[in-house]
Symmetry: none
Subunit: 189 residues, 4 copies
DNA sequence: TATGAATGAGGCTTCATTCAT
DNA sequence: AATGAATGAAGCCTCATTCAT
């Protein structure tokens, strides 16, 4: 692994564990077993490290969204698929999420980054809802706010999972909660 | 106002405006027009100030919950009443909420405090759902997780309102979203 | 002596001895026997200390210039008096001068400060020359540049005295040099 | 141009532009488009680069002095010639002068180098004055200090020109000033 | 010769906290 | 109770220099 990647990986771990402020350049260097000066050969500032982490995360989510859209266009993406792939994504990127959730209130760059993230997720959900309404599988609901509600639900789930692990996971029930609100009362009766 | 309250009020404003880390004891003293030393006559540490703010907030919410319970026991609390009174509470205590949301990821004391807050809200919603199921006005849903889902929804709404004010308010739609998921398909009509 | 003055005096000594860059905040604190943090209770930055030194020096020269002007108006100020009082001033403020000479090429604030200093000295000399020409004790020479030449001569003398003390003092000869250039060829002869 | 010369030339530009301290080895390498390590293949240290620049400058002045002496021995060097050739030299080597003036107060090596420079100039002027006195074209003045006064005047002129370019050039008047002080009251009566 | 990543000492500054008055 | 000067640990960052390739 290149030194730059080592720094990035170590910083990601540390920030998600102790927060941005408590990861000091000195700590970071020690844990990555490099000198403090080396950090500045690869990054302009401590905040710059975070910026890189956020950018990478951003790209990862864009890839997921793209994949979802492709399947949506083919008509093979169910509500469960959509929510399920998001849960997987969030689980797989827990550290990044924790970083985002833990710094958006402190740092302007994260606030902006998370704002973009929310928007992207909302747009994706919105498009899904629009399509569902067209094909008659979902209720007709106000698209924009409902997309936001779903995105918001996801963040909340992650937050609780990450910061209050002692609380039982309630993802499944959340999915049910949403299904009841969005699915048409099963025609077939 | 006593000096202690002055410090508390000033600190609350500052923390919600600039965050816990960026409120320094020096800033605080200047803005409250007292000396830095005076702070330590009333509080043990900077964190101790936060602790007091959190405790006060805690009590305020307990009062609201108590009020809700009283009305619930009388059978005069509709879903709209419940959610409405919470929206009012959150609006009226925006500064406290912002402090909680902005520090739980950094400080153990807030993490615990917010944990309790979530639990309390969850319990209240849970009780409401149980009663609704009994009286036949609400669907039968898994109580504990659904209470959590509702609490979670509230926090999310506040968060977006506080940190991304440029996003349109979607409280009303969120309420609708929940109603659809929880209300019985209006019987016989 | 107040702590602020102690810092100022110590810094003046150190800067004139080793230069602005080589006086570090750490050194300064050690030599003044205070903690590094204390420096920042009294000054905004390291450069701010220098600023204070320069301002004080500025005022001191303005006082001298004022005194000279008063005597000039009374008609009791000979060329020897004028140059003599300047030599005394420069000798008495050797540390300040060394600081000015040693930092104007590095720091914008000193460059400006020294610029003002030169101007002030030039103006004073210029006025003296004008008066001398009027009263017929001095040659008529271009005022502005000649004032500058005299100011310049002074700075040069100080510089050599301060940085090359091994070179014999030549102030007296410099005064003679100027007299020959400025005095009317003694009438009476 | 050899790499060594490239480094030297680039360093000369940079030091005269931003000063010795603000030219970092990193900057220098970037501007010269070489690697930082390469610098240390050609020079022992950052100061060593300056040493080379100073040495080269020293030689250049020695050449000028030599030329002047040759003409002096032939008896074809007027005061105007002498001063004029010095002005030309200083103009042509403005970067070197700026380096010397900007570092003698900080660095021992420059202080020594400039000391030698002053001495050399003084000696040359002194010899010229001696000859002038012998041939009866110049007043008899104390040689050593007067030589120093002239050298000093030159440095002052350069300094002001380089650091306060907003001040009008007063070289011509300076020459006049010196002529008045040194020339015999034109016999020719 | 040349590279450029790595080093580590040290610089300036901030800030929660203490203490004599 | 209140003051505010003083502390000192710790934070971020810079930079001349070294060294393996």
């Amino acid at each position: 692994m290149s030194t730059k990647d080592l720094i990035l990986a170590t910083a990601k771990d540390m920030i998600s564990e102790v927060g941005f402020h408590k990861m000091t350049t000195s700590n970071l260097a020690k844990r990555a077993d490099i000198s403090e000066g080396t950090i500045y050969r690869h990054f302009e500032s401590k905040e710059d490290i975070l910026q890189h982490i956020l950018d990478t995360f951003d790209e990862k989510y864009m890839t997921l969204a793209e994949t979802c859209r492709v399947r949506m266009d083919k008509g093979t993406l169910s509500l469960d698929d959509l929510l399920g792939s998001h849960f997987s994504f969030l689980d797989a990127n827990a550290a990044d999420i924790k970083i985002v959730l833990g710094t958006y209130s402190i740092l302007e760059i994260t606030r902006r980054s998370m704002g973009r993230f929310i928007e992207r997720m909302r747009t994706l959900f919105e498009d899904f809802l629009a399509r569902g309404a067209e094909t008659g599988t979902l209720l007709e609901v106000p698209l924009r706010p409902t997309g936001l509600i779903l995105a918001n639900m996801f963040f909340g789930l992650m937050r609780i999972k990450l910061y209050w692990p002692e609380i039982d996971d309630f993802s499944m029930e959340a999915v049910e909660f949403c299904r009841r609100s969005l699915m048409l009362p099963e025609a077939g009766i």
